[in-house]
């Protein structure tokens, strides 16, 4: 399919804007990110796991490695893994996609390596449950109940298994933080988890945690791009309303629609 020219131009403009902000941030410009309570809670939950001596569970979702939600989830996992190693908390990772195993494995090992404790790294803490949603849910439910995890983090793309996992986590008394951009799974996480990050907050999470200037710049660029989109929507809606009320809609709107749809 050929995307319309308006979409191509808008997509290019957004990409340029986001990269420009990343580069500006790298040069030292300081950008502000608003507070996200769900991410603040991660630190607290790892602390609680330390006190109870129970492990934490991290799930980067059901998506493949070409899914941006999975990549965002893994970026958050890097931070959580390091904090777990620092606080001597065992971290269990539940994987659905085979290709993600090696990435998760590397991230977990990297966290131990950075703290100089490679010998404590256990590859068997990365569990592969398969792509089937039922199998994955059954595997995660098993881990949650057997290991009596102190905290569970669900960061990525999910299907119907969200409620099965999160509700079980709730029953075993785990503090749960979830983040997904899958609209229909958000209500389930909201019901069953203590903290839920909605939509874009998933992509901002790693920047918020790491405070890496480039990532922070990216989040700032993404907010700016969203503001531009919002302005276009509002302007378009007002213009459309005015044209419809003034009776000029047919004459003016159709050519505009034609240009945008080309």
């Amino acid at each position: 399919m050929d995307p319309p020219w308006a979409i191509r131009i808008l997509a290019a403009a957004m990409c340029i804007l986001i990269v420009a902000r990343m580069l500006l941030a790298r040069r030292g410009k300081d950008y502000f990110i608003r507070r996200i309570p769900g991410i603040d809670a991660i630190e607290e939950t790892v602390g609680r796991a330390t006190e109870t001596g129970r492990p934490v569970l991290f799930s980067p979702g059901m998506g493949a490695f070409d899914n941006m939600q999975t990549i965002a989830g893994l970026a958050v996992m890097a931070w959580v893994a390091r904090r777990c190693v620092q606080m001597s908390v065992r971290m269990l990772v539940a994987i659905a996609e085979p290709v993600v195993i090696s990435a998760a494995d590397n991230i977990l090992f990297d966290a131990f390596r950075q703290e100089g404790r490679e010998s404590e790294y256990r590859p068997s803490d990365v569990f592969f449950f398969g792509r089937d949603e039922n199998a994955y849910a059954a595997g995660v439910i098993g881990l949650l109940t057997r290991e009596k995890v102190a905290a569970a983090y669900y960061f990525g793309g999910y299907g119907f298994e969200t409620l099965l996992m999160a509700e079980t986590g709730n029953r075993v008394g785990a503090i749960q933080v979830a983040a997904t951009a899958d609209f229909f799974q958000i209500p389930f996480f909201l019901c069953a988890c203590d903290y839920t990050l909605i939509g874009e907050e998933l992509y901002a999470a790693s920047a918020y945690l790491s405070r890496d200037p480039i990532q922070v710049g990216g989040v700032s660029g993404q907010d700016f791009a969203k503001a531009i989109l919002l302005a276009i929507i509002i302007a378009g809606s007002l213009a459309g309303l005015w044209l419809a009320l003034s009776g000029k809609g047919g004459a003016v709107l159709n050519p505009v629609e034609g240009i945008l749809g080309r």
């Binding site: 399919m1 050929d2 020219w5 191509r8 997509a11 957004m14 990409c15 986001i18 990269v19 990343m22 493949a64 941006m68 939600q69 990549i71 965002a72 970026a75 996992m77 890097a78 931070w79 390091r82 994987i95 085979p98 290709v99 195993i101 090696s102 991230i107 990297d110 950075q114 590859p123 068997s124 990365v126 569990f127 592969f128 398969g130 039922n134 059954a138 409620l163 099965l164 999160a166 509700e167 951009a181 609209f183 389930f188 909201l190 019901c191 069953a192 909605i198 939509g199 874009e200 998933l202 992509y203 790693s206 480039i214 990532q215 990216g218 989040v219 993404q222 791009a225 969203k226 989109l229």
Partner: protein, 507 residues
Amino acid sequence: MRRWQRSLIFWFTFGFGLVWILAFFLPSEIGGGFDSEGVFGPSLLGKRLYYSTGKRPFIAMTDLDHTAVRQKAFGLSPFRKSDYNGAAEPEVYETPQGLRMLYLGVGADFAVRVCMATSADGTDWSPSWEPVFDPGSDAPILAGSSMSLSLDKRRLYTVGIEKGRSVIRSAVFDGGAWHDEGIYLRLQEPYAAISFAELPEGKALVVADSPGVPAFLAVIENLPLQASISVSPSPLFDKLKPAFLERARAISTAVDGGLLRVLIEGNGPDGRSRAALLQGTSLENLTLASGQPDGSVFAIAPPGRTTYFNDWAGTLSDFVPIVSAFGFGLGLISLVVVHGKRIGKGGEPAFLSGLVLIAVAAMLMTQVAFVYSGMPDGGIWYELNQILFYRLQFPLGSTLFGLLAAYLVSAAYRAFRIRTLDAAVLAAMAAFIILTQVPTAQFLASLFSPGLVDAGARLDSAAVEGRNWALSIANDAVQRAVGFGAFVGAIAMAMRVWLSLDRFGSE
């Protein structure tokens, strides 16, 4: 990680992404669109048009009323040998088991075979791993030829060349498989058939072509013919061929509710690839059903200069399933390592882990043996597949899915505890949505007086309007807001990965 390793990863990621980005941003006239080469061998089912694309063709689809964008029906896979080098000439039809699509697959050995894809909704198609009909190595050359189905969908025609002459072969479906019937029709020189379609009452339409002569449509009567025949332009030709089609290339026919539908595909004088749809109760009273300003139902720009980015992007995408296939090995190793260690430790977990490994081995062995034995309809591997897959895994999956019902109740109980104003609004809205699913007001009114039932019905009707507003306006606006944010966030994430600016916290 060493500097050269990081550099290699950066340039690989950057190059891979750049090809996709250029394929997206550049217009089809210079190589961006997947069907810029034209529309080939279209097939119509209802209002949905299926067709094959140009280079390394694959099957694409769109709707005649333009309610759906042009999209792939299914992609080519480097693991599927039957259509490794392309899929073309789709023929779609309905069966009691769902939709079926027969198409010509150009295999890894460049031989052309008839393959099949299945679908429940006409959008998500699953191609079969093996061809359904192989004309064999001594059969006429089929490459570049046309395929069509009889009106009752039980006979398959393939157009090819044998000893320099056009031949139409047929295969018949006996309920389980397609069987070759041999030559159905031979055409005498000087014309060559390029497309063949059956008509009611033992007639057929042929698109005939010859060097130096414009392609024309011919009507053949009293089929099947054993002897070779000579075709000439039909008197109906001028009537059938719309003015916007200078050169007809392919034809397909279907009878839909007593209505004969003839779809002709070809090129216009401006080089645009177009499809015309003629409909009527018989061949004599066909009329043009147009959807485009020029009278066609589908028109696409002529191929222009190409930057080949789209082709390269398609070829590069072959890389993804190959990596995924290796990933499965990783998954298997991870599974064996994790459960092997637990078996080594002993105790109750060891028993369960042993069970997991036995189940994996049994399923793997059964599936491999079942596929390699040609997926027969009986025998030990078939039975084992039925037991493990349909009588064990499916019910287990359904059981787990059934747990959702119980979990929904407990989650809803927590969600609807009214502690704040937000929770009160949420609970009220939920109650309203639930109550408007049934005629609550009518029921309540009937408890008091039968005369109030009409008033209750009017109240129910107004409530349904309110429910629809909540679901389609308020809820839709929220969905789009979340979708917008996620979309922009995904772009930002993609840019960070593409430019290797995100290192997952390492270093």
